[in-house]
């Protein structure tokens, strides 16, 4: 891609990302807010394609759309008495929130503009995705390998602690009930 096209792509996607992020707080509908946020993330994912990070960019779009689809369900579900199905404001504590978000935007934006970016030495590697993975994970592989089972254990432990029903509720005090007593029947005849 030529330099001009990349520049145009960057500005279009950048403006789209910021504008749709602002829209999240302007609209009065849960669905519109959620998917405005999704659009913002999609623009960020597509901007990653400009860095030739095709895998990272496309996966970002995939994960974010999936996440927003699920989040819309949770947001409606947890909104209590379901005003979420009706038009509602997307902001709470407007002044403080506005001050904090403007300050955060200015600090991060100023950081990106003012930091002395290094000048490129040499040429990028032919597979930039592999190079990125190597530099992010290479030295920390042992830490990552240790952290991932700990994270899984935390998730499983959290669900076990939070769950109101245990295996004794499902299979009886002696765990001898063949078909578990579940509020919803499963699909494999258990």
């Amino acid at each position: 891609m030529s330099g001009v096209l990349v520049d145009i792509g960057f500005w279009v996607l950048g403006v789209l990302a910021v504008a749709s992020a602002v829209v999240v707080f302007v609209v009065d509908s849960m669905a519109r807010a959620t998917y405005a946020l999704a659009l913002s993330f999609v623009a960020v994912g597509l901007a990653l394609l400009l860095l030739q990070q095709n895998y990272v960019g496309v996966v970002t779009v995939l994960m974010m759309v999936m996440e927003m689809a699920v989040m819309a369900v949770y947001m409606v579900m947890y909104m209590g008495m379901n005003p979420a199905l009706m038009p509602m404001s997307m902001v709470h504590d407007k002044r403080a929130a506005l001050a904090v978000s403007v300050a955060a935007f200015v600090v991060l934006g100023a950081g990106a503009l003012l930091v002395p970016w290094p000048v490129r030495r040499g040429v990028p590697s032919p597979d930039v995705t592999a190079a990125l993975g190597e530099s992010l994970m290479g030295k920390q592989m042992l830490v990552m390998v240790v952290v991932s089972p700990v994270m899984v254990a935390t998730i499983v432990g959290g669900i076990v602690l939070a769950s109101g029903r245990t295996r004794y509720d499902r299979f009886g005090d002696d765990l001898d009930v063949r078909t578990p007593r579940d509020p919803e029947r499963g699909g494999v005849g258990r």
Binding site: A31, V58, A72, V73, R185, V188
Partner: protein, 314 residues
């Protein structure tokens, strides 16, 4: 990474040809479905042959209507987006030596487009401001949570087998043996995923008769036309994508490669259409356990087998 594939990129103008192939397959699916319906009812076959034209003309002439306080923007994004997602899927499918975009992450691209369908179908359900549509949208997400992870891991198998996410490489890696032969579980789960994200056959409950049409309940005019076309287009796109993924790409005797791709896709698509009448509907809450307790481990074992074979072969 295997050798760079030697495909010719035709770019955006060529997308019209790809769209034509997708349209032809989708129309074929509508006609076949109509013929099967007429035969099972003992009705004359002739009207079902022109059903596409008749229905298109009827819906184009029909006035659009919307329920009170429908979220029209969101609703129309949902109804018109399905066709776009299907077209973007097939843009990375090589027809013989030609492809619209020779994307190096083609498999992930397909996966992203099928996740986009989650958003589109739910928005279709939400936008109508109708309880039936909304329930349909939720049903689709319930099915999607069950089929998506097995589908993702089914897509992993051809990628590992070919050591590439580029569709051209995946097709080329099957010159000896088609992936469908030694990755049958992944292929079966892939087909199930395609039928499910097309809201078709056993997975059509989000648009079920018990919900007065569910996500399609309030659609009229050109919106209904686009949404229905999107459903068939997604089914056709899934069949087309299976060709480079599992069915050896354009490989085959006599016919040229670019013709083998739609021929193979047409056969698979016909099987999808037949499945609609052969299989019962799946209750959304029941699929979760099937998906995660049966399909997910099965397809993970498939991935392991493929990885071991690739590692041993070197």
């Amino acid at each position: 990474m295997s050798d760079a594939s030697s495909l010719t990129t035709v770019g955006l103008p060529g997308l019209l040809l790809w769209a034509a192939a997708l349209l032809a397959l989708a129309v074929g699916a509508v006609v076949l479905d109509g013929v099967l319906a007429a035969r099972s009812e003992g009705a004359p076959l002739r009207p079902s042959l022109t059903r596409v034209v008749d229905e298109t003309a009827r819906l184009l002439r029909q006035r659009r209507r919307a329920p009170l306080s429908a979220d029209t923007l969101v609703w129309r994004v949902g109804s018109s987006g399905l066709v776009v997602a299907a077209l973007l899927m097939v843009a990375v499918v090589p027809f013989g030596d030609h492809v619209v975009s020779d994307l190096d992450v083609g498999i992930v691209w397909f996966n992203t487009m099928d996740v986009l369908v989650w958003a589109l179908v739910w928005l279709l359900g939400w936008g109508a401001n109708s309880a039936h549509s909304l329930v349909g949208g939720y049903r689709f997400l319930a099915l999607a949570l069950a089929y998506e992870l097995p589908l993702m891991f089914a897509l992993v198998a051809p990628g590992v087998g070919a050591a590439s996410l580029r569709l051209g490489d995946v097709a080329a890696a099957q010159s000896g043996l088609w992936f469908v032969v030694w990755m049958p579980v992944a292929f079966a789960v892939y087909c199930l995923g395609v039928v499910a994200f097309s809201v078709w056959g056993p997975f059509a409950v989000p648009a079920g008769h018990d919900l007065a049409g569910g996500v399609f309940a309030e659609l009229s005019g050109v919106d209904r036309l686009l949404a229905q076309a999107g459903r068939y287009a997604l089914l056709a796109a899934g069949a087309l994508f299976a060709v480079p993924l599992f069915l050896g790409g354009g490989a085959g005797p006599v016919l040229p490669g670019w013709l083998w791709v739609p021929v193979k896709a047409g056969v698979l698509l016909a099987l999808f259409v037949l499945a609609r009448r052969a299989l019962p509907s799946v209750r959304p809450e029941r699929l979760m356990e099937v998906g995660w307790v049966v399909l997910l481990p099965a397809v993970l074992v498939q991935d392991l087998v493929v990885a071991v074979v690739v590692a041993v072969r070197g």
